[in-house]
């Protein structure tokens, strides 16, 4: 019999055996039922439907394969090891072993059998998913992903896990041990290693970016094939090693040699692919480093300015051929001997000409250095024609973004999406400036000067030739759009040009002379049916939204058109240090992910349903058209103008419920089309000033939304920034901080504070007039900081330069302390008003700026007034949402101010946002009680400096807070051994402060912050899960003068929602009735006679300082220890006070 026949025989009987295994049957039936149920829930209204399922056709097979794959990987281990167990234990196998067949065909037959069974299960699961997919309306169906995913996800996983299981089983010879070892391996790869080294260890492809786009298919098919190939070949290699190690005398020397050869070949193939995979990663990092180093070297080379750029681009399959005619100007004061341009390294430069003269040029990775015929003297013009062509190398993109951030998983639910920055394929092209597809003067990112960004305003003209069935989109007026030929002529000098070519359909409307375009892929119009009734209302809506936004910004939209362009879901952009804008927003253009799949508010169906439910609940009568108006308004404002992204949580959560929604301005905010692409505040010394001004003017953004979510993350982004700024100035932070979002936020926050400071110096309205006039005069051109300062000096006598230097270089932060808060009712002539007075101190050597906000609850709550903006607030975005009164207060270094504020309605809450400061939490709050009438009081408003020392403490009092050096914790060491072994730390482990959580307190002491905790600027405490006393917190103190001391412990009053009815542990939450609190803390107070165990019961306790006892202490060190032993849920270690009697 031939080997193939025997393989088929063995496989056939293996299939029979497996299909009759109850273990496999139960697993299969459960998998089929659960996944079918999941599909119904996810795809239909029953479970509100996942937007990604409705928008991207590949989502359904993708998620099905991922879920099945994780489960089948576990089952496969068991079944694969089981068959070898059967083989090794029973003599039964011997009657098979004595048959005439080679070990190879036997193992291969077994493998084939088990593989067929699992692939059959895959087929059934996908078939059911496909059927639901086909029959459920609104869920798009595409056959290709159904074919691709089993091959890319299941097949390599199964081959690998079978191979590994066989190998372990023949080596270990014990099924239980093999099963446990492999389960451990699966868990380790899934939970700890999957994201490491670009998913290299993720054999199940759980985090490998496999989202399939309607535009371009997979984001990076070669990388995916390499990754999957590694495991496929390793699996085959292990199977052939198993053949060699099988405990049966080999039958054929040829087969033995064949097995040796193939196991070596397959393992080698796996290793080579692994090497190729790693080489791509490290090669990319190396290339990017080389590019940055080259940039650093050329940083000081005088920069030529491009004033006009005429591009002729021919798109041919996955390549472009370009002829670029550049008009150059020497705007420097010195003669330029060579021109330096940055051009994508994948593009080969064929020739550089000036007129008819061929010019010498050199190409060094991305740099193109051209030697002109004659050196170009200052203010002279020159012209060049550069011919180049090739592919786009995306490795040059986002040099400023660190590798960790670049490698972070881009996901929607459990689906992982590749990150692409440019596309050139036969059917689709997307080129944004980040890919350097046309020559850009000078160098790109330099690590020597991270904030540097050159912005030149260029007159672009673009001619595109592509396939006849493709449509090209770019900035400027389209003068030709037929048969694959397109021409665009920009009406203004713009800083950048982008190009999209694809099978686009265009929808268009003109409102107030502006052409609003929508470019979507064929059959991607999912929204029209939900907005069908808008009709004539659409122009009115667009006009209103535009005007509202322009009023908020106080800036006009100057372009003649505005286009929304659908782009592949893989297209990714990152935050930059020099602008609030990202590549998703281009001049007069926004690039939206296909079908709005990553934008929660693009799910019109869900929005309509929730709107209808809301209307039904509130018994309103609202017409279908009005619902559509609301939906359109919500989509446009939340995506493009509000500046807050509302990323929807996976599995039905709303975007406002958890950390993923904590945001970050919307990456589709069109603010850059109002500022970033029109203006540029140029400073050679302080390039971040442009970002500072951009942040200051971005009044649509609402950074404080993030602080609402500090409960989830431990610290708000602003607080993290403040922590990073402690002892750091901006340049140091830019050079040292790994987390670019911290640097970004620091520049934004400091930027806002700088211009707010100028505003406070020269007057609000005066500064606004000055600034907006200046912008209006310098549209599409640079504003030099020198010119800016000269005008500021001339108009207001205010010299900004010394302040900028201090702002840029100062390492000190202010610290804000508030005391003596009083609130009472006063009579102001014939009406009652509400007087609030308080002292606000800044004992630190740096000036401080705070925003004091009051909420009276007299008016409407919620976000209606804009996210911290609107309502005539003077600095929108700095106060809390819905504030009724806001006031900026400047507190000079080492000074205290007494503040008196008069309000028309009784405030319930005063909130002081300390902006850039040492304070954590950065917002201090005070809740007012009843306002009593003080008949004698005279109403007044004032802000005056006073002599006051906020630091004055009691003379015989020593306080040791958890932030002090006398405090320390001794951990129990309850850390996962696996985590230790693999040196794995969660994001939380890396954070200095974590969120306070009762439901899953940490096993070890961890610091957390809350305004209820004791502390000067940083109000923090340590907390841990209550346990058996295996870890302690210690407060050490140096006693100078001996005597009797009263010892106190600080019990904070935590006000947290959701605490009611829970074991409070610390019991410090007012949410739980005191009588329910059973917690107690176990202290050891050390004194002259040894130590005393003190138990502090938390039931009916007074919040604040609680007496632990009186003890005689000699001049020496004394200490108090708090153990983690408690019958409650958590133990909190905050502050201890010794008071001499």
């Amino acid at each position: 019999m031939s080997s193939f026949t025997i393989i088929r025989i063995v496989a056939r009987f293996e299939i029979k055996t497996l299909l009759r295994s109850w273990f496999f049957r139960i697993f299969s039936i459960l998998a089929i039922i659960i996944l079918a149920f999941y599909n119904v829930i996810a795809m239909t209204e029953t479970g509100s439907g996942l937007w990604i399922f409705h928008s991207i056709p590949s989502s359904v097979p993708y998620v099905n394969m991922l879920l099945l794959n994780v489960i089948q990987a576990v089952i496969a281990v068991f079944l694969a090891s089981d068959f070898l167990k059967r083989d090794s234990k029973l003599d039964t196998t011997e009657v098979i072993y004595i048959r005439s067949m080679t070990n190879g065909v036997y193992v291969l037959g077994k493998t084939l059998g088990i593989m067929i069974v699992f692939l059959g299960l895959n087929f059934i699961v996908l078939f059911i998913a496909g059927m639901i997919n086909v029959f459920v309306p609104d869920v798009p169906f595409s056959i290709y992903p159904y074919l691709w995913y089993p091959l890319l996800i299941s097949l390599p996983t199964l081959v690998f896990i079978f191979g590994l299981s066989f190998l372990f089983m023949v080596i270990i010879k014990n099924q239980a041990v093999t099963f446990i070892v492999l389960l451990g391996y699966i868990a380790t790869t899934l939970f700890f290693l999957s994201g490491k080294l670009h998913h290299l260890f993720d054999y199940m492809a759980f985090t490998v970016p496999l989202m399939y786009s309607d535009f371009v298919g997979f984001g990076n098919i070669s990388e995916i094939l390499i990754h999957r190939g590694i495991y496929f070949f390793f699996g085959l290699g292990f199977i052939f090693i198993t053949i060699l190690l099988l405990r049966r005398l080999p039958q054929s020397k040829i087969m033995t040699r064949f097995s040796i050869l193939f196991s070596i070949l397959f393992i080698l193939a796996g290793l080579m692919l692994g090497n190729s995979y790693l080489s791509r990663i490290f090669g990319e990092e190396e290339l990017r480093q080389q590019i940055v180093e080259l940039n650093n070297k050329q940083l000081s080379t005088p920069l030529i300015s491009i004033t006009q750029c005429d591009i002729d681009l021919t798109h041919n399959e996955d390549k472009i051929q370009v002829g670029a005619r550049l008009i150059l100007k020497n705007n420097t004061t010195e003669t330029i001997n060579r021109y330096i341009f940055t051009l994508n390294p994948g593009l080969d430069v064929q020739s550089v000409k000036s007129g008819q003269n061929e010019l010498k040029f050199t190409r060094d990775i991305h740099l193109l250095t051209v030697e002109p015929v004659h050196p170009l003297s200052a203010q002279s013009l020159d012209s060049l024609t550069i011919k180049y062509g090739g592919v786009i190398d995306e490795r040059i993109c986002y040099l400023d973004v660190d590798e960790t951030t670049k490698a972070e998983r881009k996901k929607s639910g459990m689906l992982t999406i590749d990150k692409r920055f440019a596309f050139v394929s036969p059917a689709y092209v997307l080129l944004t400036p980040e890919s350097y597809w046309y020559p850009v003067a000078g160098v790109s990112y330099s690590s020597d000067f991270p904030g540097l960004h050159t912005q030149q305003f260029v007159q672009f003209n673009l001619n595109v030739t592509t396939e006849k069935d493709l449509f090209a989109i770019a900035q400027g007026k389209a003068t030709e759009q037929t048969n694959g030929s397109f021409s665009f002529r920009s009406e203004f000098p713009i800083p950048q040009l982008s190009l999209a070519i694809g099978k686009y359909e265009k929808q268009s409307i003109i409102v107030d002379s502006i052409e609003y375009n929508l470019f979507i892929l064929n059959k991607h119009d999912y929204f029209s049916e939900y907005l069908a009734d808008l009709g004539d209302t659409l122009p009115v809506l667009i006009r209103e939204i535009k005007q509202d936004y322009e009023r908020t910004l106080n800036l006009p939209y100057v372009y003649s058109r505005f286009s929304l362009v659908e782009v592949p879901v893989q297209f990714t952009s990152f935050q930059r240090l020099w602008t609030t804008g990202q590549e998703t927003v281009q001049p007069e253009m926004v690039l939206l992910p296909e079908k709005g799949s990553l934008i929660s508010d693009a799910d019109f169906k869900r929005m309509k349903r929730s709107e209808e439910r809301r209307i039904e609940r509130t018994n309103q009568v609202v017409s279908p058209k009005e619902i559509q108006v609301r939906m359109f308004f919500r989509f446009v404002t939340s995506t493009f103008t509000l500046g807050i992204s509302r990323t929807r949580l996976p599995f039905g959560g709303s975007g406002m419920q958890g950390p993923p929604a904590i945001s970050t301005s919307s990456i589709y905010s069109i603010y850059p089309d109002y500022y970033s692409y029109l203006y540029h505040l140029k400073s050679d010394d302080w390039p971040v000033l442009n970002m500072a001004m951009e942040s200051f003017l971005d009044k649509g953004a609402a950074s404080t939304m993030a602080s609402m979510f500090r409960g989830f993350t431990g610290l708000s982004q602003d607080e993290k920034t403040n922590l990073a700024l402690q002892g750091n100035n901006l340049p140091a932070l830019m050079a040292s901080e790994d987390d670019q979002s911290i640097v970004y936020n620091a520049i934004k926050s400091k930027g806002k504070s700088l211009f707010t400071f100028i505003q406070s110096k020269v007057g609000d309205e005066e500064f606004d007039d000055f600034l907006y006039n200046m912008l209006d005069e310098n549209k599409f051109s640079e504003i030099n900081i020198k010119k800016f300062n000269e005008r500021l000096l001339k108009e207001f006598g205010f010299d900004l330069k010394p302040y900028i230097e201090e702002w840029y270089n100062n390492r000190e932060l202010p610290g804000v302390l508030i005391s003596d808060i009083n609130g009472y009712k006063v009579l102001d002539e014939d009406r009652s008003r509400f007087q609030v007075t308080f002292k606000i101190s800044n004992p630190e050597p740096a000036d401080g700026l705070v925003v004091v906000s009051f909420r009276t609850f007299g008016g409407g709550r919620g976000m209606g007034g804009g996210m911290g903006g609107g309502g005539g607030l003077r600095i929108p975005g700095m106060g809390f949402a819905g504030a009724d009164h806001e006031q900026i207060i400047h507190i000079p270094a080492n000074h205290t101010k007494e503040i008196a504020i008069l309000l028309d309605a009784a405030p319930r809450l005063m909130s002081v946002n300390t902006l850039i400061s040492k304070n954590i939490p950065s917002t201090l709050s005070n809740i007012f009680g009843t306002f009593e009438l003080d008949k004698k009081a005279v109403p007044f408003e004032s802000e005056r400096l006073i002599e006051y020392s906020p630091d004055a403490s009691e003379p015989d009092e020593i306080i040791v807070d958890n932030e002090d050096s006398g405090f320390k914790v001794i951990q129990s060491g309850s850390e996962s051994a696996l985590k230790k072994l693999l040196n794995i730390s969660s994001d939380e482990d890396k954070e200095k402060y974590v969120s306070f959580r009762l439901w899953r307190p940490p096993l070890n002491w961890q610091a957390t912050t809350n305004s209820a905790f004791h502390g000067k600027y940083i109000r923090s405490a340590y907390f841990t899960k209550a346990s058996t006393g295996n870890s302690i917190a210690i407060w050490n103190v140096e006693i100078i003068e001996g005597g009797y001391y009263d010892v106190y412990y600080y019990v904070p009053e935590l006000r947290m929602r959701g605490m009611r009815g829970r074991g409070m542990g610390g019991g410090q939450g007012s949410g739980q009735p005191q009588e329910e609190i059973k917690d107690e803390y176990h202290f050891s107070v050390y004194h002259d006679d040894g130590k005393e165990e003190v138990i502090l019961g938390l039931k009916n306790i007074e919040y604040g300082w609680n007496h632990l006892g009186s003890y005689y202490l000699s001049p020496d060190s004394a200490k108090v220890e708090l153990s983690n032993e408690s019958p409650g849920r958590v133990v909190i270690a905050d502050a201890v006070k010794w008071v001499k009697q």
């Binding site: 098979i96 004595i98 005398l249 039958q251």
Partner: protein, 293 residues
């Protein structure tokens, strides 16, 4: 068909010498392997069915070296191991079909016919659709025998095949093997049950401590015991002493004592008569007296 075994040795890693210079020639027909536990019977058989490699020595099947021609030799084999169970979830006929298929019967119709015939022969046709692992002990044994015989093997090695079979089944099995042995086939039967060999085998070997201590016809082994098998009528009081002094083969209770068969050179002090020996007597006498002398 002929199997030639020359100075075969097997030394395990722990130093245990399982086979010592075993040399045998096995011709067509049934060949019995007899020996006490640990004598090396199973080791020898596992070597013959290519499950184990000898440390040294040579096994030839029709002049084919066993080590070098496993493919051809395995194609001739049928094997029933001592502790034989079944793949769970396979029906009786499916398991037999699997064995037949692996033995080279490709044609489906021919194979199914052979399976049915074999099931008839071993009396399992009625149980053909029952799951193999749910058969009774005897039925399982019969199925084991069936799988070893299906596919017309040229060499059949059976290890303790009649263990667990009732007398009828044993007889049927013996007859089946005898019938098979009429063809050009070698059947090697290893057993503790001496009667199985005496009633079926033309030749046999006796193994003890890894060595072949006897090789020949069973009658020759029986002859060793001639004149040394005694029948003694013993009182109850004598019985215990007889058990101490002699190798007792059988005891039959009588009205006033026991009728005891013993193997011994002399029975001094007791009255008894010499009776005709059988293979069991020959085996015991050979092991206890011939070998020890």
């Amino acid at each position: 068909m002929q199997i030639t075994i020359e100075t075969l040795n097997k030394v395990y890693k722990n130093g245990n010498h399982a086979l010592k210079d075993v040399s045998l020639q096995i011709d067509q027909g049934m060949f019995g392997l007899l020996g006490p536990n640990g004598a090396g019977k199973t080791t020898l058989m596992r070597m013959l069915v290519t499950l184990m490699k000898p440390t040294s020595g040579l096994v030839k099947v029709n002049n084919l070296d066993l080590q070098k021609n496993r493919r051809d030799i395995r194609a001739m084999l049928g094997y029933l191991p001592q502790d034989f169970r079944f793949f769970s979830k396979l029906r009786t006929w499916e398991f037999l079909d699997y064995s037949a298929h692996l033995s080279g019967m490709k044609n489906r119709q021919v194979r199914h016919k052979a399976v049915d015939e074999m099931l008839e022969q071993v009396g399992l046709y009625e149980a053909r659709d029952r799951q193999a692992n749910k058969l009774s002990g005897g039925m399982k044994r019969r199925l084991g025998i069936a799988q070893s015989l299906i596919g017309d093997p040229k060499i059949v090695v059976v290890d303790e095949p009649t263990t667990g079979l009732d007398p009828d089944e044993r007889i049927r099995f013996r007859n089946l093997l005898s019938q098979m042995s009429q063809k050009d086939i070698i059947i090697i039967l290893s057993t503790h049950i001496v009667g199985d060999i005496s009633s079926t085998c033309r030749n046999m070997a006796l193994l003890d401590k890894g060595k072949v201590v006897f090789n020949g016809e069973p009658d020759k082994l029986i002859e060793y015991a001639r004149g040394h098998v005694w029948q003694i009528n013993a009182s109850y009081s004598e019985f215990d002493a007889i058990k101490e002094k002699f190798h007792v083969i059988s005891t039959i209770p009588m009205g006033d004592g026991w009728e005891v068969q013993v193997v011994a050179d002399h029975i001094n002090g007791y009255s008894g008569k010499i009776i005709d020996p059988n293979l069991e007597h020959g085996y015991v006498y050979f092991i206890e007296y011939k070998l020890s002398s």
